[in-house]
Symmetry: C2
């Protein structure tokens, strides 16, 4: 007698099969977070690898049972997480997801619609069409027929933007600022396009005059990629002025607003994105400021006709006679075939919070960034890079002397040479240094001790600690703890 | 006084925030499935679009609340799903996910690790390394250092295989059978490679002599892509013989085992994949035979060194000094940057079921396919294309006369012309015809009525109905109902 197969998540009995399993998961999430006790597990990579290895074979000949497997592995991953819901986990554009978005995502897994054909996702594909239309209209309020594709994130969105440009123009040249996301370089490589021209951005944003200078020297079709929310400093390129330069030189403009895009939801701050709709394509991630679990990427296009080049036929999915008979043709909505309905969690979030609710979350994080900047400015031991534009704050210990040998590890992509720290007051105890190497070590020590997850960024030729504030629940007290931790680390 | 932000899914309080929201989701999943009542909603695309449109604005200025949003949208998507857990939903390689995998996936959403840097995913990245190593060893049991990358599915895996080949050889030519997945053509286009050479496969598999003939005429580097589990018929190319041909011609071999790969888990059937490890790269999807919610794709490589070309540095994620200090460099594990830990659900499934448990599920689906073939053979009104190799069964109504004008809509990718139906017995009532057009209409009618989700495939120059049996809970009674439905549809 063969054992019955384990229960499925779908159908009329799926919900009851899921309920006890989800109880086990929730308990393991809770216990794992308690066992961790901080933003990430102490001990660094070796300790984490050892704990995972101690769980036993990942592919045994005979299984344990669902509850044991769920309890063991979910507990291990929770205990060993860098949890963005912890206010001292603030290194990356790594968002703490909203509970309601995570709950919605469960339904995506349980129903498992695949977005490559109508007969795998009737309602999910209809919902996606509505949500992408609504979000495209947020980016392009005045366009006649904007559209948006759902992607795995900014990297895929930027890649698609280059692909669309390639299909319009052939072997197009991409021009980016040194402040642009690394994905443009990877996308050009992937697509067989020339290496992007990189314009130095010593001030952290792409200067229109510098762009104009770069464009002057180029023949042939050009796509300029500007950034609204740089990875290193959270800065926004001057989009209207860059759009003017592009227009004057016959170049096309793409804006990578993976980070900054959702600022559109904020009445207070949306002016920061003025001119965004002058771009032909715009990248937006809702798994950053948008509080979705990964992935929730978008590529918005001003004119839906630009997407026609993605049209693709596979007889088993969208045969011509089926399309003529009214079955929607979905294959041109992505370069993927099987595709999870990431749009469901986003749809639930938009409906539950509305534009105003999302805007309030954006505003809260923007305020936290200003609060952290205030605390840095008040600390005699710390130096602030600049007042934040979005939710990223760069700071570093005040130094007695900056390195002058050029051997900085800042790795600033613009290649600027290290400069003296203008106005830095030497307030630290004698012997305390803060070269870039020390700063990188401070970050790694905070990680290894499990105390804080801070990022790093090169700017002004030096290395900085980076806090990216995406947690609307973070309090001024949390930020003060973060400052105290960094101050303490500089005196060892 | 500003309202508190909605609760997060992570941290020590996330589980308690999730619990009531998940109750709402489970109720909506259950009620939606009950309201649907069958494998998919009746009424076709127009009815589904109308129901989704009636839900109101997708992006209101002010939100409703989490429970209302979850209840409304999850109910709508469940009611409007083509639910692969329903035994009459069998069109595609669209799997009904296991409840335990779906439950595990909730933890991935709640913790939201991102797999692009260690400090976003300490334990999840360690777990991924173990699981990919174990699965790579299943594909390459005798290789010294195999490895596997996690992908969004077979399409991305095949694209990666071509990319790796391009980086080894430059402008490589891909050779595929007409039975190969459409993604090879799209990948070559994406990567700026020459259009693949397509070898006709009139028998449904790639014949070694036909491949040898095609290779003889080609200069320069060649990647041959064979298929273990074709999309149309579920057939397996003769891998050992094709590997011999490749070796004789200095061509490299990739095998797209997106569908067939998990047959490795079955002691009874794994011999079908003999020779698989002679491929340099192998595509496997665990969201097909593997019962994972999308996405759970893999690209296995015989030698981990082949992956070095994906190495990529972004100072904020994997600066050289951090890597030297022991922080794992993860950016070369994917072309994506932000990346959801799809490995968690797979890890839970492997641990809970073991190789034997997964093999039993494979065996059950293989048996269901044989059962369905038996029923087709017993039906005087239906013709079976062939005994199934994997879990795909092609059949069609027995016809009085086949179309002879060549205007078939079968769209068989091998370009074969329609042929007479040899041995077809005209048993239908006078006036009943069964041209390809009628057959396509039968499929659409079953969809529009909400009665069954069947696929379509061109083979032998004709169009066939396709049932892909991935539901281990399907019973012989379910299959009999499916046959009765099709028989009934042919007499209208």
């Amino acid at each position: 007698m063969r054992a019955a197969p384990p229960p499925l998540a779908g159908g009329t009995s799926g919900a009851e099969a899921l309920r006890p399993l989800l109880d086990t998961v929730l308990d393991a999430l809770h216990d794992g977070a308690r066992a961790r006790g901080g933003p990430l597990p102490p001990g660094g990579p070796e300790a984490v690898v050892a704990r995972v290895a101690a769980l036993g074979a990942v592919l045994p000949e005979h299984g344990t049972d669902p509850h044991e497997a769920l309890r063991t592995l979910v507990h291990a991953v929770a205990e060993g997480a860098a949890d963005p819901a912890h206010p001292l986990c603030a290194a990356h554009l790594h968002t703490p997801p909203l509970a309601l978005a995570v709950a919605a995502d469960l339904a995506a897994s349980a129903l498992n619609p695949s977005m490559d054909s109508w007969d795998q996702a009737p309602a999910a594909s209809a919902l996606e069409a509505e949500v992408t239309a609504a979000l495209a209209a947020e980016v392009y309020p005045a366009a006649g027929r904007p559209d948006a594709l759902v992607t795995t994130g900014g990297t895929e969105s930027n890649q698609l933007a280059l692909l669309l440009a390639r299909e319009r123009h052939g072997r197009i040249r991409t021009v980016v600022g040194a402040n642009a996301h690394h994905s443009f370089h990877r996308a050009a490589w992937l697509l067989g396009l020339p290496r992007p021209v990189t314009v130095p951005t010593p001030e952290g944003t792409l200067h229109p005059a510098a762009l104009a200078g770069a464009l002057k020297g180029l023949d042939g079709p050009v796509l300029v990629a500007a950034t609204a929310g740089t990875t290193d400093e959270g800065l926004i390129d001057p989009i209207p002025a860059l759009a003017d330069v592009c227009a004057a030189h016959g170049a096309e403009l793409h804006v990578d607003a993976a980070y900054g895009g959702p600022v559109l939801f904020s009445r207070t701050h949306r002016h920061l994105l003025d001119g965004l709709d002058r771009a032909r394509t715009v990248t937006v991630d809702l798994h950053k400021l948008g509080w979705q679990p990964a992935a929730a990427g978008l590529l918005a296009v001003r004119d839906a006709a630009d997407l026609h080049v993605l049209g693709h036929t596979a007889d088993y999915l969208n045969a011509d006679d089926d399309t003529e008979a009214g079955l929607p043709d979905l294959l041109g909505r992505s370069l993927r075939t099987t595709r999870r309905p990431d749009v469901l969690k986003t749809a639930v979030t938009l409906r539950a919070l509305g534009r105003a609710g999302l805007g309030a979350l954006v505003d809260a994080c923007m305020e936290r960034a200003q609060d952290l900047a205030d605390l840095v400015e008040k600390s005699p031991a710390l130096e602030l890079r600049a007042r934040p534009t979005l939710t990223t704050v760069l700071f570093r210990p005040v130094t007695a002397a900056e390195p002058t040998d050029g051997a900085t590890s800042a790795g600033s992509a613009d290649g600027a040479t290290p400069t003296e720290a203008a106005g830095a007051t030497p307030t630290e105890a004698a012997g305390a240094t803060s070269t870039d190497e020390d700063l990188a070590a401070i970050r790694r020590t905070l990680l290894a001790e499990g105390h804080a997850v801070l990022g790093r960024a090169g700017a002004d030729g030096r290395l900085w600690l980076k806090a990216t504030l995406l947690n609307p629940h973070a309090t001024p007290g949390d930020l003060a703890r973060l400052i105290t931790l960094v101050e303490g680390s500089t005196h060892r």
